[in-house]
Symmetry: C2
Subunit: 338 residues, 2 copies
């Protein structure tokens, strides 16, 4: 299998991306990695690691979409950007999956434009794994679709169920609906209509899930509109950092708490690992016609290596084919739902 | 001034509520407290504290709205509930403010039904203070209005500006719009239209604020739809608890980390105080025709005492009158905005 890696995307690109690609090429030596981006820069980065592994090739792209570029218009204007080239490789069947730590909106826009959606899928959605008391909770969507209809949220539940099964080995994942109360009739119109759709579906629907219940492992999957999911995800990053920095600042105030903090280091290390985005290896954009793994902008080589692992895993397990087949099963049920 | 305290609302009612009311009556001895609820139960609770302060009276209400009752219909059915009686005291001018740790939705519904909104206000909103790096950030709305229009969010910005000035002493508070990106043109239709309204307003508008930026003190006030705000607030509670419990569990694993945690106690105490809802003394429901302070369901006596302090402060500073006057100033500007 061939994985296209966007060498120019991310805060630490191209250095950490190329390093991660080399590590992945060594770990998954039966597969190929295509580094997409400025050929000269990539070659220069590759030279750090001695002989380039045989399963690494370069696909030149002269432009880069920066983090502050507007998503859709830059995809239209920078037609030779690294992310566009990655998506094109998938569209032409020259790669089975892509990994990018670049501009998320641009990756979503490029995928929507050149890959289109899987048969039956109305809107793609990004599924992010949040650490919970007992494991993880997959929140979908966290930013691909900020104007959701109930049918989109139902489809997110279906796609995430397939993904959860084949990526995390959860046989019959519990699907919840993010809402402002536990009672059935709670929420805005979108929540109420989605509640009805999910209740009548074949999914293992466990009802409404409130923000705090995500951490209590009430559901394995939580569906929500991209606007809310995105705000929540970024809020989680801010809150975690803020809490940890308060503890650190406070414990630096005298010798005893400083010593205490030093002794507690292993506990904080475990916490950091739990919160660490690199451990989860990127998040999938589910519903597009190809395997797209989106990584955090801060991704280092370990995160990229993990993302390639996830990309290969999803490709090998034919997650997209399974999503199409699950959607076909319920197509009669939802044919009239707009 | 007279503050009506819902003696039956909250997880720890009536015990902690009555205790908090007694403490408040002693602290603010120039003012009166009306304990609203089951007279027999309240008298029995009051008997714990010797002679009842002269500035405490009881207003009987035979019914209670429970946390799991549906908000609007229970307000219609339980016409003699403690929260309804509190609101009625305000509506009749027999109290200037109310404090309740009961069902938030019911308090909002009762206020909307019996108090109505302030002149010019389209929808009331709940303003919650979140601890940030440099102080606090006021997030409005966190659950009163889950179907917002741009004009509601603009009005939240105005009301929170007045509240911030007179409650926290912030002269010209920075107002931000909760959004999924920093760029001006980001977000769903509601966010985009609100951005334009806020840009053209007299407020100190600082643009879009992402979830993580709340903690970086980018704005003193962040406006958002009640659905998103509510999800975010509950998510914050869940995440904080989850992070702290992971650190605790991990540090219990061996003697050294256990010792470290013991030494770090003062740092965690400061963190807890920062996160502690009781410190902030409830959140105001801004925009209704009376001062309504809503407390967390878990509120103890200290939280109730603090809430009474906030209620008196807002009443004395005529925050509602100032809101009406600020809204009048901009009424010409927004007369045609729906």
């Amino acid at each position: 299998m061939r994985v296209a890696v966007d060498a120019m995307g991310g805060d630490k690109a191209p250095h950490e991306i190329v390093k991660g690609a080399v590590q992945a090429a060594q770990q998954f030596s039966d597969n190929e990695i295509v580094l997409v981006g400025d050929e000269k820069e990539i070659r220069s980065e590759l030279s750090f690691y001695g002989t380039t592994p045989k399963n690494i090739t370069i696909h030149h792209a002269s432009e880069v979409i920066r983090m502050d570029d507007p998503a859709t218009s830059s995809i239209r204007q920078k037609t030779n950007s690294s992310i566009t080239r990655c998506v094109e490789l998938l569209a032409k069947g020259e790669a089975t999956a892509l990994v990018s730590a670049g501009h998320t909106g641009a990756a979503v826009a490029a995928s929507a434009m050149y890959l289109r959606t899987l048969k039956g899928v109305r809107r793609p959605g990004i599924a992010a794994a949040l650490p919970t008391r007992d494991g993880i909770c997959l929140v979908i969507d966290v930013g691909a679709n900020i104007a959701c209809k109930p049918i989109h949220l139902l489809q997110y539940g279906i796609m995430a169920t397939v993904y959860s099964k084949y990526n995390f080995g959860i046989e019959n994942p519990r699907v919840g609906l993010l809402n402002i109360g536990e009672e059935d009739a709670k929420g805005n119109d979108l929540a109420k209509e989605t509640f009805t759709l999910l209740s009548n579906s074949q999914l293992n629907f466990v009802g409404n899930v409130e923000g705090r219940e995500i951490f209590e492992s009430k559901a394995d999957i939580v569906v929500c509109e991209g606007f809310v999911g995105n705000v929540m995800l970024k809020f989680a990053q801010g809150l975690s950092m803020s809490l940890l920095s308060t503890i650190k600042t406070e414990s630096m105030k005298n010798f005893l708490t400083k010593l205490g903090m030093w002794l507690c280091k292993p506990a904080f290390k475990t916490l950091k690992a739990k919160m660490d985005f690199t451990e989860y290896g990127g998040v999938p954009l589910l519903g597009v016609n190809g395997v797209c793994i989106i990584c955090h902008g801060r991704s280092d080589s370990k995160a990229i290596q993990n993302a390639v692992r996830v990309a290969l895993h999803l490709s090998k397990n034919k997650v997209n084919e399974r999503i199409v087949s699950e959607l076909e099963k319920i197509s009669l049920l939802t044919a009239n739902v707009t």
